[in-house]
């Protein structure tokens, strides 16, 4: 806020409070014709008369108290334009205080499980339940409430892992995130080549395909794809390159979907959570994810 608007807001705010006080002060007493009225103001409407009963005195005092409260509040907290208040209170500072308080409060709860290995945690229903709740809050949006995944988001309940399914690898994935990049080959292969390659890739998982096309595709595959997907097309977990010989398809296993993957590529992102969740929480989520496929 510029100085002008800051002053503008302050003057109006204080002016209104001052106006209220002045109004209250000036209407304390009333000028009336002596003995003019007995008990009513003289106003009648449809035969209903208005009484002329005075307000209780403490009512006035309460009004004064609210005015004083308002001024004290404006002195302590931000409210007058750019003036920060003498307490230096901000929403952010309050938020941070409360987060710090919550961390302090719940740290012992997490610390209880922090020293156990992920394998030992499998027999701790309490810890797994905590992990499950945090999974629901942080992971379920993409991986589904049950961890079964969705189109483009891996299924965490099966035994097929892009980067590996042991405890440390899962933890690394959650902590640092992953970027799975499949480069586009459409320009290199041409439309014919993409079709041949699709036929070959589909044949790997035992689907019925055009044998000639698949044979042509295999040659291209050996030249272009084995670097990531491996000689046997079984995938390379160090790179996160998927196994093409099973029937698990992250982006769908139909002819069109596989063609699309080869033609324009794919880029999957698992966000890093090291800045979002404490190590103790990641440890519990890891344990829960691990439990999904290691019953």
């Amino acid at each position: 806020m510029s100085d002008f608007w800051s002053i503008w807001v302050s003057v109006i705010t204080l002016g209104v409070i001052g106006g209220c006080a002045a109004l209250l002060w000036s209407t304390r007493k009333s000028e009336v014709y002596k003995d003019a009225t007995e008990e009513t103001t003289g106003h009648t409407f449809d035969g209903i008369e208005e009484y002329d009963n005075p307000m209780p005195g403490w009512w006035l005092q309460m009004f004064v108290a609210t005015i004083i409260f308002g001024l004290v509040y404006l002195a302590l907290y931000p409210g007058l334009g750019n003036f920060k208040g003498f307490l230096n209170w901000t929403q952010i500072s309050q938020y941070e205080e409360e987060v710090a308080y919550a961390d302090e409060t719940y740290r012992p709860v997490f610390a209880k499980f922090a020293d156990m290995s992920v394998e030992d945690l499998q027999s701790q229903p309490e810890g797994l339940k905590m992990g499950q709740r945090m999974f629901a809050n942080n992971c379920a949006v993409c991986h589904g409430t049950t961890g079964s995944g969705a189109h483009g988001f891996p299924n965490l309940t099966d035994t097929d892992w892009l980067y590996g399914g042991n405890a440390d690898t899962i933890k690394t994935t959650i902590t640092g995130g992953r970027t799975g990049a499949m480069p586009p080959w459409g320009a290199v292969l041409g439309e014919e080549g993409v079709r041949d390659m699709t036929n070959y890739v589909m044949s790997l998982s035992g689907k019925t395909v055009d044998a000639d096309a698949a044979a042509r595709g295999e040659q291209q595959f050996q030249a272009l794809c084995t670097a990531c997907h491996g000689q046997d097309a079984k995938g390379v977990q160090a790179l996160g390159a998927p196994n093409l010989t099973d029937n698990v398809w992250l982006y769908g296993g139909s002819f069109e979907q596989i063609s699309h993957t080869i033609r324009v590529g794919r880029s999957g992102v698992m966000p890093a959570h090291k800045d979002l969740l404490s190590d103790d929480k990641i440890h519990l989520i890891t344990s829960y994810v691990y439990s999904l496929s290691n019953k």
Binding site: S30, A36, A136, N155
Partner: protein, 474 residues
């Protein structure tokens, strides 16, 4: 559109336009309530004693090994003897409050402000404090005289005693109140060890201040200026409602007299104008001016006047519970449509409420279908749907529940189908349902989840949801 005729209502000047200024805010007149005895007072003492005893003692009762009445806000669980209510049951609270409102309407139509006179906490505590005032400072005349005197050692001592006694009652009230929200058997030792949490400290302090200020200082001001009931009760009164009334026909003309004189010959009525009915009135009105909205129908003036009538040798009931019709010499019609209507509505709601409580199943089942995707095609070709079951065990015992799903042949539940839930626990239970595509003839099916406690046949809930599959089956 006919215009409503405008009437000039400027007050007429009576003294040639001379004006004076007067304060628009009334200074409060302190009301000195006089001690008295009588039938209605005894009635209120008993009812007030019972209610105060309930308030101070109920939090000490135990039930199923826990506090019988405990409103556990942090856990959002509200224990009332055999029942544990959750936030989902708040509709019951709404109904209870509506029922109580109707009871209030019924009672008001029938007998006026019984609530105010005999049951309202504001006044129960006010009478309690008036009693404390009397035992420390003495009765009305003594108090009035002493208040006019300058401060003396005795006055200071008595005032200190009064406020100390008030604060003791207020402290007991504050602690008892907070004891319904924080278990009182732990609260008291914590308090004695000076080891209370910030919220307990704040609320106990708040209720001490509120009790002390309300019953000690504000008293009738709450009824006159703040209480909404005082404002709308007049709508429920009719000419057959019991109100406390001064029998003008019998009382006028009022006046002082000797006890054995023939006052009727002197043209006087039964009222001896002793002022007792005004002195005992806790809201400071004169009932002889007729029914006023300040009157809380406490019956103090009835008792006070009956006492005087007895002493004078006159008949009781110069001030009595009566109705407008009876005062005018007519008959009172107790059975009138308004009363019967309220009574009928009240009974219907009572029965419905009782049945709802009786039929309530202490289990909450909410099913949230996974919003991420319609269905998942697993690697072996089966179609999978994911659900999150939120199961809340609202009973006071631990239970083991089984989960079954019906609705499509060949539907398989591949998650844990038996779960243990402790009393008062809420479990998020992810569920996966799988089916071979061959079984699916339509893209979506209504399915039914059956959740039931294995050890209690009464606890069983069926909840409907949907199973969605692919539209074009290959």
């Amino acid at each position: 559109m006919n215009q409503i005729p405008v009437k000039d209502v400027t007050p007429k000047s009576k003294n040639n336009g001379a004006t004076e200024s007067y304060d628009l805010y009334a200074k409060r007149e302190h009301i000195y309530v006089k001690y008295y005895k009588g039938f209605f007072k005894n009635f209120r003492t008993i009812s007030g004693f019972i209610m105060l005893a309930m308030f101070y003692c109920f939090s000490w009762l135990q039930w199923n090994g826990q506090q019988a009445v405990l409103f556990d806000l942090p856990n959002r669980q509200f224990h009332v003897f055999n029942f544990t209510f959750w936030p989902q049951d708040f509709i019951l609270l709404s109904w209870l409050l509506i029922i109580l409102a109707f009871v209030l309407f019924f009672v008001t139509v029938f007998a006026g402000r019984l609530w105010c006179g005999y049951a309202c906490p504001q006044f129960v505590w006010t009478w309690f404090f008036i009693w404390a005032e009397r035992v420390t400072e003495g009765d009305r005349n003594v108090r009035m005289r002493r208040d006019k005197q300058p401060m003396s050692a005795e006055k200071f001592l008595r005032k200190t005693a009064k406020h100390s006694l008030w604060l003791v009652i207020a402290a007991a009230t504050g602690i008892a109140f907070v004891g319904y929200f924080s278990p009182i058997r732990e609260l008291i030792p914590d308090l004695l060890a000076w080891n209370l949490g910030p919220w307990e400290t704040w609320w106990i302090g708040f209720f001490i201040v509120a009790t002390y200020a309300n019953a000690g200082w504000l008293r009738e001001q709450v009824c006159i200026y703040m209480c909404p009931y005082a404002r709308f009760q007049s709508v429920m009164f009719d000419q057959d409602t019991l109100v406390i009334s001064y029998d003008e026909a019998r009382g006028e003309n009022r006046g002082k007299r000797k006890k054995n004189m023939d006052y009727k010959a002197a043209g006087m009525g039964d009222c001896i104008d002793c002022g007792n009915c005004v002195h005992v009135c806790p809201v400071g009105i004169d009932i002889r001016d007729g029914l006023q909205y300040e009157c809380v129908a406490c019956g103090a003036c009835v008792d006070a006047c009956d006492d005087i009538m007895d002493r004078m040798g006159y008949e009781r009931g110069l001030i009595r519970y009566t109705t407008e019709h009876a005062l005018e010499g007519g008959t009172t019609h107790i059975m009138r449509p308004r009363l019967i209507g309220y009574f009928a509505a009240m009974c219907v709601m009572f029965i419905a409420f009782g049945y709802t409580l009786y039929a309530r199943i202490p289990l909450e089942v909410d099913i949230i279908r996974d919003r991420g995707q319609l269905y998942i095609e697993a690697s072996n070709g089966t179609i999978e749907n994911a659900y999150m079951l939120k199961l809340a065990n609202k009973s006071q015992q631990d239970h083991r529940y089984s989960i079954e799903v019906t609705g499509i042949d060949g539907l398989q539940l591949i998650s844990e189908s038996v779960v243990d839930i402790r009393s008062g626990e809420l479990l998020d239970h992810p569920i996966r349902l799988q089916i071979k595509p061959a079984y699916l003839e339509r893209p979506n099916y209504d399915i039914m989840f059956h959740v039931k406690a294995l050890d209690d046949a009464d606890i069983s809930i069926d909840e409907e949801n949907r199973f969605i599959g692919p539209t074009n089956r290959r």
